[in-house]
Amino acid sequence: MKTLLFLALAVSPAVAEETRQVDAHEHGVGQLDIAFDDKQIAIELHAPGADIVGFEYAAESSEDRAAVDAAVAKLAVPLDLFVLPAVAKCSVVQASAALESEDAHEEDHSNHDKEHKDEHADHADHEKHEDESGHTEFHAEYLLTCAEPAAVSEIKFAYFDVFPNALELEVQVVSNTGANAFEVERDNPMLDLRGMF
């Protein structure tokens, strides 16, 4: 994977001033950002493809595609992943989930992709942006509204049951009392938020 990544960078476009940066990417560890504002809760999840579907190459086989589709469908139901106390009476206003590759924004990948040995035949129907040379990441955004937001004293992470490859989530929380960071691990999938209100 490393040499492929290097190759991808090495053959990148010939613009001299192009900035090169590759974000850190750790398998098993995802990021979860939670913002509380009045009755609204915004949640953003970024998780490595390895955590969610177990692979990070482009989904070519129908099996892999089905796995990606199933994962996206699961990610689109936030309250099944992050269980809020029932007394808070939360409901989902908006939920979106997608798979994106690390270099999803760059357009010129099709050029050097051809250099890779076997997959170029399938590139025509490469509808998703993943690229076998980069890491892939699932990205989900949710907006919830709660009748009793102060009752969200804890969040239970069913996420770890749904995605058995995920080990840890780095959580950042902002509320009107300020910001805080937590680490939620598979062994103890609970987030105590009592200090945040």
């Binding site: 900035t19 950002d33 913002a35 509380f36 902002v174 009107n176 300020g178 805080n180 960071a181």
Partner: protein, 416 residues
């Protein structure tokens, strides 16, 4: 009955018992005092900055960014270019942005270039604004506002001229451009107290005659000419950002962290503070460990005194036995005596703590900017006290069991 006996027995040996109680009291006071300082330091620390949603600077570590931008400890790895600053300022999520430009000093204090918005936006101790004790915020190019500690240490008043030194530990001073103190801030207990604040343009102004870090010989641009110059900064050190809605914080953070044109870092101050505290927290654990050891030492000392008293109390124990006291009563008596000593020690320790706090509070506040609240003991502290008493009862079981056995033997001996 047994209680009266225990109390009477303690009174009879007032001096040794008094010393033991004193040792326990001091150790308890130390333990609780460390606890108070620890929680007080943590709270003061967390109170350093509030109301700011994001701190933006060159990409480094979140702790480092926090240290140099808020605590003025260490230096920036690189600066934040003015173009990027403008780009961030123009984003729709941004409600306000305050630039910070560091790098010069005045005596031992850092000079910070910023805008007057800093005084409205910088908040500490859960939302308190910084207030001017005297004078006004800077209105002229060569005006400065100084923190309370700067004023107190150097004896400055509003209207005094000051000269800013180039760099941090240098002797070359920007003598041609003396500043005037326009305002002095009230004490906040934050690093702002130890900062000299000037406008962003002033930082540029004092470097007009400087090329690559050294002064151009013989060149001195008069202040009037400098005032006419375009003093647009090329870069700032960091920026404090407030967002319009809290829900947008993470989106903006991600956008800044993934900003293609320049490697930047945006951190949530609360998160960075917590990360920093996790590092500092190791020392905190060590402190608790040491003071815990002191409590244990005091308890072992008490055990030793009880042991040595057993010999001289052999006759007493034998009389108790002769009077019909069961060996269990002897055991109970000794444990009760120990628990009484510990209880008195704990209460006395609490008294020491509060007397000490009352004396130290203003001193610590002025010396370290650390506010130690005097509150009723917390549940945790009460638990500590109860644990000390329980521990002493357990510890005293060792000599008490010996007395238990001895009293049987002694009771059967013809001669003592």
């Amino acid at each position: 009955m047994i209680f009266r006996l225990a109390f009477g027995s303690l009174m009879a040996r007032a001096l040794t018992v008094g010393m033991t109680i004193l040792a326990i009291a001091l150790s308890v006071a130390l333990f609780l005092g460390v606890e108070k300082v620890r929680t007080g330091a943590k709270a003061s620390f967390a109170d350093t900055i509030s109301g700011t949603d994001l701190i933006v600077g060159a990409r480094s570590g979140s702790v480092q960014l926090l240290l140099y931008s808020v605590f003025r400890i260490g230096n920036a790895t690189s600066n934040l270019s003015w173009e990027s600053y403008q780009d961030i300022a123009a984003r729709s999520e941004v409600d306000w942005i305050v630039p910070i430009s560091l790098g010069d000093s005045h005596r031992q204090f850092r000079v910070m270039g910023t805008t007057t918005a800093f005084f409205d936006r910088y908040k500490y101790r859960s939302g308190q604004s910084i207030k001017l004790k005297d004078g006004a915020v800077m209105s002229d190019l060569f005006d400065t506002v100084i923190g309370a500690d700067v004023a107190a240490t150097l004896g400055y008043r509003v209207g005094d001229p000051i000269v800013v030194a180039h760099g941090l530990a240098s002797f070359t001073e920007h003598e041609d451009q003396p500043f005037r103190i326009s305002g002095i801030l009230e004490k906040t207990g934050t690093p702002v107290d130890r900062t000299v604040m000037v406008s962003l343009e002033a930082i540029e102004a004092i470097h007009v005659d400087w090329k690559s870090g050294a002064k151009i010989p013989g060149k001195s641009t008069p202040a009037d000419v400098i005032r006419q110059m375009e003093l647009q900064p090329q870069a700032v050190t960091a920026a404090l950002v407030g967002v319009k809605g809290r829900l947008q914080v993470f989106g903006l953070q991600r956008a800044i962290n993934e900003y293609k044109q320049e490697p930047l870092l945006a951190v949530l101050p609360g998160v960075a503070l917590q990360e920093l505290w996790q590092i500092v927290g190791i020392a905190e654990t060590a402190l608790i460990g040491v003071s815990g050891m002191v409590v244990i030492t005091a308890l072992i000392g008490m055990m030793a005194t009880i042991f040595s008293s057993l010999n001289e109390r052999r006759r007493e124990m034998a009389i108790f036995r002769a009077m019909g006291a069961r060996p269990r009563v002897i055991l109970g008596l000794l444990v009760l005596e120990a628990s009484l000593m510990a209880a008195i020690g704990a209460v006395l320790g609490l008294v020491f703590l509060y007397v000490g706090l009352a004396i130290a509070q203003p001193l610590v506040d002025s010396a370290f900017g650390l506010w130690l609240p005097i509150d009723a003991p917390t549940a945790r502290e009460v638990c500590v006290l109860l644990a000390v008493i329980a521990a002493s009862a357990i510890v005293s079981l060792v000599p008490a069991l010996r007395a238990y056995r001895l009293s049987l033997v002694d009771g059967m001996m013809v001669k003592i």
